[in-house]
């Protein structure tokens, strides 16, 4: 069916809110900015729910509304395509965004630039919606860059803080590395299929034989090259190795931003991209394996770092990277709907973890969990919802995270071969680590004695309802959102996978019911094991962590604490090397000594010669004039002599 006003308004409402707050916020609206922004995004939510209802009844919508760029054979439109995948994303984005808008009324109260914050939030929501609703690669890229811009602006919201300003630029620039590959992928799509519309491109794929091309001396299927280039974009946006470094630093932004952009929505755009382009990825086993392996390594890598971090937001940030790795892994084994399912449940429990962390930070005015402890009795709603979110992410039976994580692990196991088993093993190990670090955080933050001093302890109190109500709503999601995707071994069809099947297909599972129960049992067991281990280390034997940290002279601990020194490495290889090359080679040598030397040297030399020859003392211009006259004559001779022949 064709696009209607309902669909156009979904992104248009937040955009209008952005314009209103952006233009009138500073002078007129100021501390009332949340009304404009929140009402707009709530409106988008209502329209998204309406759209979901339509899509659940089997309708899809497609249409172009504007011709953006025409040049030669290239035609780029602004247009929307609403299918089950988009419908799910619309719900995720507008739900979390609305709750974050409400929460921020409390969290950002009294901040300077309050209106600016809401203007950015609206712009972000608009951009994210344009991204997921797009029907072509270029509009997707617009949304992609625009969410990146909002992320940059919001990370750097406290721009006079150097760390925040640096983190904002870092996020943008690291993402540009991914965009570089993504853009080349888009070019190749256009040169191969003559179009950048999903519909045309994906239709052209059926029955298409990918030619073999040579890339830097290696032979590869064209489709593999395209898929991997597009995947570069996903690696940047979804903070996968080796472009993960920006996300932990992004925690410099206000906490509601971390929940919305850096946990629930923007960072999942990479997963969405791979799922959206599944017809392309499915044609290349090489690309699929790469995706799966990158996802698996990222999830393990980030989980190990999360074990030892002391900043409450950084723990949750590494947890996000790790969970994003799960989603990417799912896509890599062809279980796109499992990846999207985890994206959807993760949005609830991870937004909840961040907003809960925000509530804690609001109370303690500190982010270091070493200075917390015993908060449970002071802020019960925050603590209980945080507990439930942590249980959910640890895969506690029947909670949302249990179903989505289990599906990924099962699909990895059942994807067959040694690779499948290995991916499952890694995934299971990550599940263990996840449970451990999540509950390390819980025990250090909410239990034991408060370590932040008596003075502070007096002032500890639960946050206001405008903060706790969004926590409670998200908590419902963290518990129940998984119930729409019960696994087939429970005796009924997986409704979520069924809904997405027209877009994402359904991979074949190589395994028996018994194996599926085994996989589920193991993941529950390791989850409980992790929680138990955290309880022992941080609840009972508080001497153990220090002794573990001192193992092997503390080397493993320091590597984890310093995030494997990846930032230091990049700093050296990319930033310092570029600046040093610019200063010491380009400025000093090529532009300076060589080119300037010639420009200044030749006239001076000829000048000296002419002085000797003629014994004349004239100004610099004389020298120039003399070489010119000489040169003109010489060149004239050459042109006439050689060219004329």
């Amino acid at each position: 069916m064709d696009i209607t006003m309902v669909h156009i308004l979904i992104p248009a409402l937040p955009f209008l809110a952005f314009l209103v707050n952006g233009l009138l916020g500073a002078r007129l609206i100021r501390d009332q900015a949340h009304w404009v922004a929140t009402l707009a995004v709530a409106g988008s939510w209502v329209l998204s729910v309406m759209t979901l209802m339509d899509v659940l009844h089997g309708k899809t919508f497609y249409g172009n509304i504007y011709t953006w760029i025409s040049s030669g054979g290239l035609d780029v439109s602004v247009g929307f395509s609403i299918d089950p995948l988009t419908a799910v994303m619309l719900i995720v984005v507008t739900t979390v965004s609305t709750l974050v808008h409400v929460y921020s009324v409390g969290y950002m109260h009294g901040e300077r630039g309050y209106w600016r914050f809401y203007a950015y939030l609206s712009l972000f929501t608009f951009s994210m919606l344009m991204l997921v609703m797009s029907n072509n690669f270029v509009q997707l890229f617009f949304g992609w860059e625009a969410v990146g811009l909002c992320s940059y602006l919001l990370i750097g919201f406290y721009y006079d803080k150097e760390a925040a300003a640096v983190a904002g630029s870092k996020a943008f620039i690291v993402n540009r590395f991914g965009d570089f590959g993504f853009a080349l992928g888009v070019f190749l799509v256009f040169l191969t299929f003559g179009s950048l519309d999903y519909r045309t491109v994906f239709a052209a794929l059926s029955g298409w034989e990918s030619p073999v091309v040579e890339v830097f001396g290696l032979e590869a299927d064209l489709v593999t090259v395209i898929a991997l280039l597009l995947f570069c974009g996903a690696v940047g946006k979804s903070a996968q190795i080796p472009l993960h470094v920006w996300l932990p630093d992004a925690m410099e932004g206000p906490t509601p931003v971390s929940a919305l952009i850096h946990a629930a929505t923007m960072v999942t755009a990479g997963v969405f991209l791979v799922a959206r382009c599944n017809p392309l990825f499915n044609l290349s086993a090489t690309a699929m394996s790469t995706v799966a392996i990158v996802g698996a390594i990222t999830s393990l890598f980030a989980a190990t770092i999360a074990l030892v971090q002391n900043d409450i937001k950084r723990v949750v940030a590494y947890s996000t990277i790790s969970q994003l790795g799960y989603m990417v892994l799912a896509c890599g084994v062809g279980a796109y709907s499992a990846g999207i399912f985890h994206l959807y449940t993760h949005a609830f429990f991870k937004a909840l973890l961040f907003l809960g962390a925000g509530s804690v930070i609001h109370a303690v005015h500190d982010q270091d969990i070493r200075n917390m402890g015993g908060l449970f009795k002071h802020m019960k709603i925050t603590a209980i919802t945080f507990w439930i979110a942590s249980l959910s992410i640890s895969g506690f039976p029947l909670l949302a995270g249990f179903f989505s994580k289990d599906e990924i692990l099962w699909m990895a196991y059942a994807s067959g071969g040694v690779q499948g088993k290995l991916l499952w093993l890694v995934g299971t190990l990550v599940a263990l680590l996840t449970a451990f670090y999540s509950f390390r955080l819980i025990f250090l933050t909410f239990h034991g004695e408060f370590r932040g001093g008596h003075e502070k302890e007096h002032h500890l109190h639960e946050s206001s309802p405008v903060i706790t109500v969004p926590l409670i709503i998200l908590c419902v999601g963290a518990v129940a959102s998984g119930w729409v995707g019960l696994p087939p071994v429970f005796g009924m069809e997986n409704q979520f996978a069924h809904f997405l099947q027209p877009v994402l297909g359904h991979p074949e599972a190589h395994g028996t019911h018994a194996e599926e129960w085994m996989v589920m049992g193991v993941s529950v067991a390791v989850g409980l094991l992790g929680i138990g281990a955290a309880w022992v280390l941080y609840g009972r034997r508080s001497d153990l962590p220090a002794r573990l940290g001192a193992l092997a002279n503390g080397v493993p601990y320091r590597w984890l604490l310093n995030k494997y020194y990846v930032d230091e490495l990049y700093n050296l290889v990319f930033i310092r090397a570029t600046v040093a090359a610019a200063r010491n080679v380009l400025v000093a040598v090529t532009d300076g000594a060589v080119i300037e030397g010639i420009v200044n040297g030749v006239p001076a030399m000829i000048g000296r010669i002419s002085e000797k020859v003629r014994g004349l003392q004239t100004g610099v211009l004389h020298h120039y004039a003399s070489i010119m006259a000489f040169g003109v004559l010489l060149l004239f001779a050459i042109v006439i002599g050689w060219g004329g022949g």
Partner: protein, 514 residues
Amino acid sequence: MTDLDSMIPNTLAYPILTVLTFLPIVGGLLLMLVPSSSHRLIRTSALGMTLLTFLLSLPLFTSFDKSTWMMQFTENRPWIEAWNINYSLGVDGISVLFVLLSTLVAILCVLISWTAIEQKVKEFHVAILIIEGAMIGVFCSLDLFLFYVFWEAMLIPMYLLIGIWGGPGRLYATIKFFLYTLVGSLLMLIGIITLYLKGGQTFSIPELMAQAPGFSVELQLTLWVAFFAAFAVKVPMFPVHTWLPDAHTEAPTAGSVILAAVLIKMGAYGFLRFSIPFFPGATQLMAVPMMALSVVAIVYGAVICYGQTDLKRLIAYSSVSHMGFVTLGIFALNTQGLEGGILQMLNHGVVTGGLFLMVGAVYERTHSREIAYYGGMARSLPVYAVFFMVLTLSAIGFPTTNGFIGEFLILLGGFARHKPLGVVAATGVILGAGYMLWLYRRVFFQETSENVSALQDLTGREIVAVLPMLIFVFWIGLYPNAFLGFMHASVEHLIAQVGQAEETLTLAQVLMGR
């Protein structure tokens, strides 16, 4: 194809191109009659003159026939009949937008200099007006001789602009600018004379477009190199770019804006108007080497930005990188590349012109170009910070800004023509984001420097001077077809012209004497 076939005479009530060219020049000469001390009258008259010129140029935008590649609004009358030189003017889809850009930029230059120029006010405005007329003449000339006259005529006031109203190092900068451009110009002059002699004793550009492609590849290549010298210096392409940072840094704001917005576009325009259609055989041979040189400029210009401490110098080097995109697109010789290249010429004028206007506005307050002098200006000058952000986003090719449309088309065209070069060129988008965001952070974020904490935000006059650039950023970014539409027919024609050339030879074969 003869001379008149490709010319659609002007049917407007006034000879528009003559008026646009000579109104500022005559106005400038009249301004000389005003007493030197009446600064206000001088400024107002100059503003009036540029505004009038701009208004009179608007029919080019509204009445231009986008369906044809032929020269429009043409005027033609004999000038020096003994040498078959004609006073011949016209515009097509390649040049028309630059005439409009010139008339717009001139207004902004007068506005931004309103309080910045206190010395020799009259002479300054005379120079600006003469430059404006000569620039328009360059873009409208359909006679090579006439073209050369305007090309040289605009340099003289430009030297004066830098040499008289420039910064402390102005003398060195002027001499270097003079040296570079004159060497290039003289080589081109030789080329023009040779063309005249070999091409049927005519200076008519449309006629030469019919004659010159018939030359032997060797002759084409020789002439190509002669023209290349002039155009490459102007663009400027690596390695003849080192005049630009000095000229930009030392020039007064209006001078930097003219340089960035219009003057350096003339090099790229020269490739489009002369090198490609006159010498299609040589162009085919040189296309890939030119793309390679462009890619070097993109990367080199971007990396060297990381070593800069001077605000204007950084923007000047970023110009080298951005103009590398322009020439890359042009020599991709396909629709997207050429249209992207032409659009990017316009974009670069808007964005870099805008950046120099902005830097000039704050330089007038602080008299410092040191990046380290600034910091935290988002707090003390919020409007200024927002304007600068928009221009920054355009410079780094953010979608919905004009920069994105240009870079996207150029990289697509370049990648289609030569994949490895396209890949290397695309690294420019990473490097560009790096130094521009670094600059933005250093100047606008972090602790507010004491130097800027009490500065006044943009004044109404300054906002009026910069706002047109911001409007163009989004106008082109959101509705590029309004501008690409001008180009389609002319670009297709250009591709047809170059496509007829024999492609069987390689550069090596020609150089080795086949």
